[in-house]
């Protein structure tokens, strides 16, 4: 067969609607043979104008609206928003409320990480194990549904505390569910360390070096897998994190496998934090039981969402609606690093590498 008429480089589109992509993102990829030579990232397919909508709703309506920005970090958004409002109004959350905020946060982290790693296994092509991992995550989803009343939009946060409370029965239920998830997660970690299919597809693929990680300013598990030892829960503790035995996991390889492994280890840490929270849960009210007006002012707050650091800026005026709400989400920092990860990657690995930053476009483009 003659190869004279075949050009050396092709330009291929990946997305915005692509079978292997988690989120609507458009990549224009130049390939040389099977190797990626240049990447163009184009976003804007999930824009819904939520930043504008927040200025049309009251502070108390916005707690619910911010929860619906993203389904997987649906606890981090209202929590950080409520923290900003509390900072402006000088509201102090009761001690029990602080612990229950941590409980909600960590439960969401467990299910979010399990979801991302399960999708990685799906992209590796190990469908049966993907099904198994989603079933493990289902234990967590059932837990969320039983405690908060919804699988995704858990509605745990309110300005001044939390909306839910735990009794002995629900604490025993959570502990039982955590035991199951912990045992399964340990098995998954063992599989990730030994299974040939997973290792061959993910080791040394999509490498983000420590220097590039610093250049891109990546956050969350992506940063920690490249040796950037940074976690907002430790650097700027909020909720009850200053009182908990938090372990920050970091690896140095910066490949797809390391990012998955950081997430899996974090699941075990979250389960440990949850157990400590449930053990030390103080008595008293869970919220301030009031609906105060938020005075004019501005505040910046940040928290560690499952994908990394989320920052909220809130400016209020004399009206019940905020004047400006602006958030910077982890994916905004992380997606630039895809240029480095995808450079010289194989076409077959593109979807897997994109998945490994756990992109959340509904957060980023809101």
């Amino acid at each position: 067969m003659s190869t004279h008429n075949v050009p050396e480089t092709f330009s291929i589109p990946v997305g915005p609607l692509h079978v292997a992509l988690e989120e609507p993102m458009y990549f224009k990829i130049d390939v040389q043979g099977e190797t990626v030579s240049h990447i163009d990232i184009n976003a804007g397919h999930a824009h819904r104008g939520i930043e504008y909508l927040t200025t049309k709703r009251t502070m108390y309506q916005n707690v619910v609206l911010t929860e619906r920005i993203c389904s997987l970090c649906s606890n981090s958004h209202p929590q950080t928003f409520a923290m900003a409002a509390e900072k402006i109004a000088g509201i102090e959350v009761p001690e029990r409320g602080i612990y229950l905020r941590t409980v909600a946060d960590e439960m969401k982290r467990v299910t979010s990480h399990l979801f991302n790693v399960a999708l990685l296994v799906h992209l590796v092509g190990y469908e049966t194990y993907f099904m198994h991992m989603m079933q493990v995550r289902e234990i967590g989803q059932d837990m969320l549904e039983s405690i908060f009343g919804n699988r995704q939009d858990i509605g745990a946060m309110c300005i001044g505390g939390v909306r839910y409370d735990l009794d002995d029965k629900s604490i025993a239920y959570i502990k039982g569910a955590l035991d199951k998830i912990e045992a399964e997660t340990k098995d998954i970690i063992k599989t990730f360390k030994t299974n040939g299919s997973i290792l061959r597809r993910t080791k040394g693929v999509g490498v983000l070096t420590h220097a590039d990680a610093i250049t891109c300013g990546v956050v969350g598990p992506v940063a920690r897998a490249s040796g950037v030892d940074y976690d907002v829960r430790r650097e700027a503790p909020y909720a009850a994190y200053d009182r908990l035995p938090l372990v920050v996991h970091s690896l140095t390889d910066g490949d797809v496998w390391s990012r998955a492994m950081v997430r899996l280890e974090e699941i075990l840490t979250s389960i440990n934090l949850l157990r400590v929270c449930l053990r030390d849960l103080p008595g008293g009210p869970v919220n301030i039981n009031d609906r105060p007006d938020i005075p004019p002012g501005q505040a910046v707050t940040r928290s560690e969402a499952p994908r990394g650091e989320v920052i909220y800026y809130l400016r209020t005026n004399d009206t019940p609606q905020p004047e400006r709400v602006k958030w910077r989400v982890p994916t905004f920092m992380n997606w630039d690093s895809l240029r480095f990860m995808l450079q010289d990657a194989k076409i077959a690995d593109i979807a897997m590498i994109v998945n490994s930053i756990d992109p959340c476009l509904s957060c980023t483009e809101r």
Partner: protein
């Protein structure tokens, strides 16, 4: 080897999926589903209308009194109304089955009426809302609450002011 163990366990356990609609679906007690409104407990403060992020709740003045409507097709089931309601007049049940044919789409509404009444003191027409007496000290007895309830807002205030507080 690890996977073979899972395989054996799954073979023994059978399918993980629920049998719904042939069997019952997993429904926890705390599930946030259909809204239920109890007009007799409502204070008429309309806080639920103000905190509802989807504007699904509407109060309206009619010749019979004040109506309450919660549009289930607009509701996002966040539970803000129940959380901020001072008298537990609004409640989220764990009934999640809201499927309906298109012709019924305007009937997916929780409706309630706070009727008008004639004030026993001044004879004015006023809403028969639950009295806002949660913070009254000492707490009102059931008879006293009923007496307050039978009055218009002005006469309610007068009644509470003139109430003899035992020393």
């Amino acid at each position: 080897m690890n996977f073979l163990t899972i395989f054996a366990r799954n073979l023994k356990q059978g399918p993980q999926t629920e049998a719904f609609p042939l069997g019952p679906a997993f429904t926890p007690d705390r599930l946030r589903g259909r809204i239920e409104f109890k007009a007799e407990s409502c204070e008429g403060c309309r806080i639920c209308e103000r905190v509802c992020p989807a504007n699904a709740i509407r109060f309206a003045k009619t010749p019979d009194g004040m109506t309450f409507d919660c549009w289930h097709n607009t509701c996002v089931f966040c539970g803000n109304c129940e959380f901020y309601c001072p008298t537990d007049a609004i409640h989220q049940t764990n009934d999640w089955d809201l499927s309906h044919v298109n012709a019924d789409k305007f009937d997916m509404v929780e409706h309630g009426l706070i009727p008008n009444q004639t004030c026993v003191d001044c004879g004015a027409t006023a809403l028969n809302t639950a009295p806002m007496v949660k913070n009254a000290k000492p707490p009102l007895s059931t008879e006293e609450v009923a007496e307050v309830r039978a009055r218009c807002p002005k006469c309610r205030a007068k009644y509470l002011k003139n109430r003899k507080v035992p020393a």
